[in-house]
């Protein structure tokens, strides 16, 4: 029925109304109600103003204060090792014990060979096994493939083998990694690394940024090499903090501030946020890293940060 009216309408309009259509369009747009649009804008401005006013007005005690928790000692976190951990011999490559050990190997690989234009990621574990060792630790043997970023899965995957030893001690001791990847020796610093170095080693270079990437996953192309450098630098921390009960990734670069270059090294102050998969915790670290194509990445200072917005210093 409606379609009958519509088609009919068209036929009528083509007779009598077409000629005056243009003048009608003008009058109809004038007829659309402006007040609604004005009200919307007014309300948005009002809301914005009231938000800006509201925040400083809130006394600190009313805002949710955070507990300032000490750095989670991975060895204390889970006193009982779950059943899965005790399996000796062949491990299921898709299960987490193999994956956690491989992740540690990746951290190690990145500390040795990572750069602004080369960060390694785990593609998959092919084979894995574990055995207890005499001194009370656990050694994992791994066969896995890694991808390089940028280019990720599009680029070639490198085949690696590694032995990761997790000491089981009272206080946390970093794992020990022996690593071998095919064609690793052939990996030289890339042309992009060189260009990046030349661009930012200049004396007046003072890069700084926050939130890489931002909440929406956005990051300018210019900042990506700095983000990758942070991932490499963070690998030093992640490697050191790892145990069989952790699985770290870098969640975000909270801030980066370039310091004055020293001894031909780029000097970068970072605050990075790490995410630990088993506990789901977000852990904040401040670090000072240096890099040059020849020396690679080095972490000169690292400091755990409590996640308290109101504390200026860590509790101790």
């Amino acid at each position: 029925m409606q379609s009958v009216i519509r088609t009919h309408l068209e036929s009528v309009s083509s007779h009598s109304c077409y000629a005056t259509e243009l003048s009608f369009i003008n009058s109809s747009t004038r007829r659309r109600s402006p007040p609604e649009w004005i009200m919307k804008t007014f309300c948005s401005v009002w809301l914005l103003l009231s938000l800006v006013e509201l925040r400083p007005a809130l006394p600190v005690s009313q805002e949710t204060p955070l507990a300032c928790r000490g750095p989670a000692d991975p060895a204390l976190q889970q006193p009982e090792t779950p059943e899965e951990m005790d399996t000796t011999g062949d491990l299921e490559p898709t299960h987490y014990p193999a994956r956690r050990a491989a992740t540690v190997a990746l951290h190690y690989l990145n500390t040795r060979h990572g750069s602004p234009y080369r960060v390694f990621g785990l593609q998959q574990v092919h084979k894995a096994s574990a055995e207890d060792v005499a001194a009370g630790g656990r050694k994992y043997s791994l066969d896995f493939s890694v991808t390089t970023s940028p280019s990720g899965s599009a680029g070639p995957a490198l085949r690696c083998s590694a032995e990761v030893l997790f000491p089981r001690t009272e206080r946390h001791t970093p794992p020990d990694v022996q690593l071998n990847c095919e064609a690793l020796q052939q990996l030289n610093s890339t042309a992009e690394d060189e260009a990046f170095y030349q661009k930012y080693i200049t004396p007046d270079s003072a890069v700084s940024a926050q939130y890489l990437p931002d909440s929406y996953g956005n990051m300018s192309e210019d900042m990506q090499p700095f983000w990758r450098l942070a991932r490499v630098a963070a690998s030093f921390i992640m490697l050191r903090e790892s145990s069989e009960n952790t699985e770290f990734n870098m969640a975000q670069v909270a801030s980066i501030t370039q310091q004055e270059s020293s001894e031909k090294q780029l000097m970068l102050d970072y605050v990075v946020l790490l995410h630990d998969l088993p506990s789901q915790e977000i852990i904040q670290w401040k670090l000072l890293a240096s890099w040059s194509p020849d020396s690679g990445v080095r972490v000169l200072q690292m400091e755990w940060q409590p996640r308290c917005p109101h504390a200026t210093k860590p509790p101790n």
């Binding site: 519509r6 309408l9 990621g121 909440s215 929406y216 956005n218």
Partner: protein, 424 residues
């Protein structure tokens, strides 16, 4: 093209409405050859001003004529004199046109809203809730919005119900946004809602056949308080919020992990007792109103056959159990289904998902929703960890939303089809 005709017709309608004021549409029921002859003569007489909407053919078919106001009396008399029965189909054409016009404007606006909705972006809660309303309005024959209760901070908890009717048909549950910071899960669910609606409307297999036998319940934001919190600021304290926003026994720490609060081995290892921890289980099972609302809804419904929950990240497709390492009774079947689903997912973009039980693949977890569902007899229970594997993690770039959603859809579609084909 249709858009232009609609606009043109709209403009014409407004201008021309006065022309039709008082006109009526009569439906003529010719009963004999003589009637037909008379009507045909009327039809031929162009000067008389009658507007034949249907042609005079035979006594089988009624004839519709728009009669200008000025001619009404004359025509009605003429028809009565000749004993030709008729009814007034439209009492005043202008009024009908007015209503038509209003509906057209409304529909065009609604269509513009869903067509222009940017699926390749992360949206805040209000925008998502508006999207839901628009979707329901555009597919009111299929989708309704169910309010299953309020959150701790008194926000509505909505589930979209996709149903072709019937009383408590066997149903599929899909939720997203249990963990506030896993934005890709909400964004994927938004896209999925639109996709299911469109597939049904355009009759694309297997959606119509699945919906003929089952209902789909899709909860885009299972943790509205947490989601709003993650939008409060760019600062990491807000953006990386995971839990609910309830007050706890520790005044400095808020929130409970909504995926450790279910009544499934609650209290066991794989969750924390510390209110400040990210995986804090809460003081008791279902202490969180968000969990209670969902659990009650599913229990009261009583006929769910599948329960699936979307999270991020790590690219995993998992099945029960989370709380223990022993195989679930249906482990073999669930593993097969998950494996096939992950292959379907992979076929879109080459994304590789690993398959396994929650306990073995990610970690031991107690009080998890998938365990709860499975232990309640909902056999086909799965948990997704969407993209990526750690490069961007929770901060997945928006330009990956649509391809993530599409590949997830491939997996979900496989599972839903399987569930539909395997009633129990």
């Amino acid at each position: 093209m249709r858009h232009y005709i609609a606009v043109f017709a709209l403009l014409a309608a407004v201008y021309c409405e006065e022309v039709f004021n008082g006109d009526q549409v009569l439906r003529i029921h010719a009963e004999s050859k003589k009637h037909i002859q008379i009507l045909k003569e009327l039809e031929r007489d162009v000067d008389f001003g009658l507007d034949f909407w249907t042609n005079v053919v035979s006594t089988e078919l009624p004839v519709d004529i728009r009669v200008p106001h000025a001619r009404l009396y004359a025509i009605k008399n003429f028809l009565k004199e000749n004993n030709i029965p008729f009814t007034v189909m439209i009492n005043n054409v202008k009024e009908l046109l007015d209503r038509e016009r209003e509906e057209m404007v409304h529909n065009a606006e609604m269509e513009r809203k869903t067509k222009s909705f940017n699926f390749a972006a992360y949206h805040d809660l209000d925008t998502i809730y508006n999207f839901m309303d628009t979707l329901v309005a555009n597919h009111s024959n299929l989708i309704s919005k169910v309010n299953i209760g309020s959150t701790y901070e008194n926000r509505h908890m909505y589930v979209l119900k996709f149903s072709t009717g019937g009383e408590k048909k066997p149903a599929i549950w899909i939720d997203a946004g249990v963990h506030a910071r896993e934005w890709i899960s909400h964004a994927t669910a938004v896209w999925l809602a639109d996709r299911i609606a469109t597939d049904f409307k355009e009759n694309r297999t297997p959606v119509p056949s699945i919906l003929s036998q089952m209902d789909i319940y899709l909860m885009i934001v299972a943790n509205p308080d947490g989601y709003v919190f993650t939008h409060r600021s760019l600062s990491e304290f807000y953006r990386f919020w995971r839990k609910s926003r309830s007050a706890t026994s520790n005044p400095k720490c808020h929130g409970v992990d909504l995926n450790r609060n279910w009544d499934a081995e609650f209290g066991g290892p794989g969750a924390s007792d510390d209110p400040c921890a990210e995986d804090y289980r809460g003081p008791s099972a279902q202490s969180e109103i968000e969990v209670k609302n969902i659990a009650n809804f599913i229990t009261d419904h009583g006929n769910f056959k599948s329960f699936m929950t979307l999270h991020s990240y790590k690219q995993l497709l998992m099945y029960p159990y989370g709380y223990v390492g022993t195989d679930a009774p249906d482990r073999t079947e669930l593993h097969d289904v998950a494996t096939q689903a992950s292959k379907a997912l992979n076929s879109w973009h080459g994304t590789v998902y690993k398959v396994g039980s929650i306990f073995h693949t990610i970690e031991q977890a107690s009080g998890a929703s998938v365990d709860w569902a499975y232990l309640r007899g909902i056999k086909y229970s799965f948990a997704f960890e969407l993209r990526d594997t750690g490069e961007y993690g929770f901060l997945l770039p928006a330009d990956q939303i649509v391809s993530t959603a599409r590949e997830t859809w491939f997996a979900l579609r496989y599972i839903m089809q399987y569930v539909c084909d395997h009633p129990y």
